[in-house]
Amino acid sequence: MIGFDAILNSFAAALHYESIAIILGGVLLGYIVGVIPGLNRAVAIAIAIPLTFYMSAYAAIAFLIGLSKGTAAGSAVSAILLNTPGEPSSAATCLDGYPMASSGKPRKALKVGLLASVIGDLLATLLLIAVAIPFASVALKFGPYELAAILIFALVFIAGMAGGSFLKGLAAGGMGVILGTVGLDPETGAMRLTFGYAELMEGVPILPLVIGTLALAEMFVQLDEYRRNKDASVIKLGKNADDDLSYQEFKGTLPTILKSTGVGAFVGALPGLGPSVGAFMAYGLAKRSAKDPDSFGKGNPNGIAAAEASDNAVIPASYIPLFGLGIPGSVSAALLVGAFMIHGIQVGPLMLRDHPEMLFTLFSGMIVASLLMLAVGWYGLRLFARVTSVPPHIVISVVIFLCLAGIQVQGYGTFGLVTVFVFAIFGYFLKKFDYSFVTFLVAFIVTPMLEMNLRQSVILSGGEFSILLERPIALAFVVFTVLMVLHLGWTSYRRWMQARYKAKQV
C-alpha cells in the first residue's frame, strides 16, 4: 500500500510554484484555443506535443492535464456567447447557454457554466482517486451487449427530450443515423456512401461536420438576423442589472449539478461512450425531472449546469478504465497515454505498483488544474462576456474566418472546406425549419458506436436473443428502453388529446 507520505509529497509537488506555473500554462493555452470557435483540442495537442518533449515527465503530464481541462471549459464560453461549441460535447451547453446570454445575461450564463464544470470535474476526480481504481474492473462487466443496450437507451432518451416537434426531431435523427453509417463497413469492409472519396472511409469527419452544422450555420443565421434588424435598432446587449449569479440561484442549480456529475461519471467510467453522450443524457435527465420542463431551451440555468457538469465529469471518470485496466476511455485519456508514452511510462494497472508517485502526482495535478481553471475562468469570463458588446458584424466576419481556419489548420484540406460548407447549408436549413440539430448530432455520434456494439453482440451470441437472460445489466436497459418508449408515447398521446380538447373548446 502506498504510504500517506507519498500522497502528501505528491501534493506538495503539485503545489510547488513551478508546477503551478506549468499547469497554469496548460490551462491558459487550452482555454484560449477552446474559446476560439473553430479551433479545438486537436490544435492544442499539436501545439503542446513538441513543447512537452523538453519537459520532465511530470511537467509534461501536468501541462496536458491543464490543457485538456482548459479546452473543455473554454469551449463552453463560445458555446454560450456565440452559439458555436468548440467541441461536440459542448453542443448541449448551447441549448440554454445561448438563449440566456442573448437575453442580456451572458455573465450569469458563463458563471453557471464555469461553476458547474469545475464542480463536476472536481467531484469526478475525487471519485477517481477515492474508489475508482480498485473497482475499474466493474467496467468489464459492460461488454458489447450492455453497451449496445445503453446506447439504444440513450438515443431514445435524448430523442424524447429534445423538444420542438417530435416528428421533425426523429427525421433529423434519421439523417444522423444515415450519415453515421458512412465509411468502411466494420465487418465486411465494404465502402458505404463514400462515393469513392478516401476521406470518407473512416466516416464523415466529425470536426468539419460539427463546425459546419453548428458554428458556420449559426453565423449565417445571425448574418440573416443582423441584416434584417440593421435598419431597426441593432440588438444592444448593454449592462443588465440582473446579469450576475446570486448565491441563491447557484444553490438552486446544485442538485442538478450533483445529479449530472453522477451521470457523467457513470458514462465516463464505461470505455467508449464519451462526453457528448454524457452531456446530452444529463441534460435530458435534468429536463425530465424539472418542474418546468418547458423553460429548458429558453435560458434555464439548470440546463447549462447539467450539460457542463456532466461534460466535465466524464473526463476524469474516463481515466478510471485507463488507470485500472489500461483502456483509454476518451480522447483526452488517449492523449494522456501519448504523454506518458513520450516519457516512458506505460499507462495501466501496473502504474499503481510501479509508479505510485506518478499516479498521485497526476491526481494532485488534476485537482490543482481544476482550481486554476476556476480562477482563469472567473477572470476570463469578465473579459469574454464583453464579446456580446462587440458589434455583431465584426464577430460574424471573424468567426466565419475562424471556422475556415480551423479546418485548414487541422489538415482537412479542400475536402474539409467543402464538407464544412455543405454542412453549413444543412445546419442552416435545420435551424430555419426548426429541425432538432441535437437529435441529429447525437444520432450521428452514437450510430457508429451502436452499430459496432450491436454487431459484436449479434456475432458473439450467434444471433440468439436468449443471451440477454445471462446478461442482467443489458436486460435491465432493454426493459428501461421499452418503458421509456411506452412512457413517451403515452405522454405525447395525452398532450395531443389535451390540445385537441382545448382546441374544441375554443
Binding site: 490544435v43 501545439i47 416537434s165 416528428l167 421533425k168 426523429l170 427525421a171 435523427g173 434519421g174 439523417m175 444522423g176 443515423v177 444515415i178 453509417t181 463497413d185 465487418e187 465486411t188 469492409g189 465494404a190 465502402m191 458505404r192 456512401l193 462515393f195 458556420l216 449565417f220 448574418l223 440573416d224 443582423y226 441584416r227 440593421k230 458584424h393 465584426i394 460574424i396 466576419s397 471573424v398 466565419i400 474566418f401 475562424l402 475556415l404 481556419a405 485548414q408 489548420v409 489538415g411 479542400t414 472546406l417 467543402v418 460548407f421 453549413a424 447549408i425 442552416y428 436549413f429 426548426d434 429541425y435 444520432a443 450510430t447 452499430e451 450491436l454 454487431r455 459484436q456 449479434v458
Partner: protein, 149 residues
C-alpha cells in the same frame, strides 16, 4: 410556420425517397455479413425520415386546409437573394483558399464581408482583418509549425 412545415416535410420526403430508391442501394455497400447487413442501418434511418416527413406533410396540409390558407406562397426573389449571397460569398472564398494560402486570402475575406455589411470606418476594417490573420500566421508558422496554410 405550418406552410414551412408542409414544404420542408415534402422536401425531406423527396430526399428520403431518393435515398431509399437510388443512393443507398447503389452506394450503400454490399457483401455478406453475419452481424448486420452494411445497408441496414442507413435504410432504417431513411425509412424513419420518410415516415416522419410524410406524417408531417399530411398533418400540416390538413391544418393549412382547415385554416383556409393557400399551400403555395411564392417567396420574394429579393428576399431569396438576400439569404443566398452570404453562402455564395463563403463558397467563393473556399475556391480561393483552395488555390492560395488562407493566410493571404483572410484579410480579403474578413474585410470584404465587413464592407458588405456596411462598416465604413477604415481603421475598424483594417484592424479586424489584420489581427486574426496575424494570429493565424503566428499559430501555423510558429506555434504548430505546419507552415503557412
Amino acid at each position: 410556420m405550418i406552410r414551412k412545415n408542409f414544404w420542408s416535410g415534402l422536401g425531406v420526403a423527396a430526399l428520403a425517397v431518393i435515398l431509399l430508391t437510388w443512393i443507398i442501394p447503389t452506394y450503400g455497400g454490399s457483401g455478406f455479413a453475419f452481424g448486420m447487413q452494411p445497408q441496414r442501418l442507413a435504410t432504417l434511418g431513411a425509412w424513419l425520415i420518410l415516415g416522419c416527413s410524410i406524417v408531417l406533410t399530411v398533418v400540416s396540409a390538413i391544418a393549412l386546409k382547415r385554416r383556409g390558407e393557400s399551400i403555395v406562397a411564392i417567396p420574394d426573389l429579393g428576399h431569396l437573394w438576400h439569404q443566398a449571397w452570404p453562402f455564395l460569398y463563403v463558397l467563393g472564398f473556399i475556391v480561393l483558399i483552395d488555390r492560395f494560402p488562407l493566410t493571404w486570402v483572410a484579410p480579403l475575406l474578413i474585410g470584404g464581408l465587413l464592407l458588405l455589411l456596411g462598416e465604413r470606418r477604415w481603421y475598424v476594417v483594417v484592424l479586424t482583418a489584420a489581427v486574426p490573420t496575424a494570429g493565424l500566421y503566428g499559430l501555423t508558422a510558429h506555434l504548430m509549425r505546419i507552415g503557412v496554410v
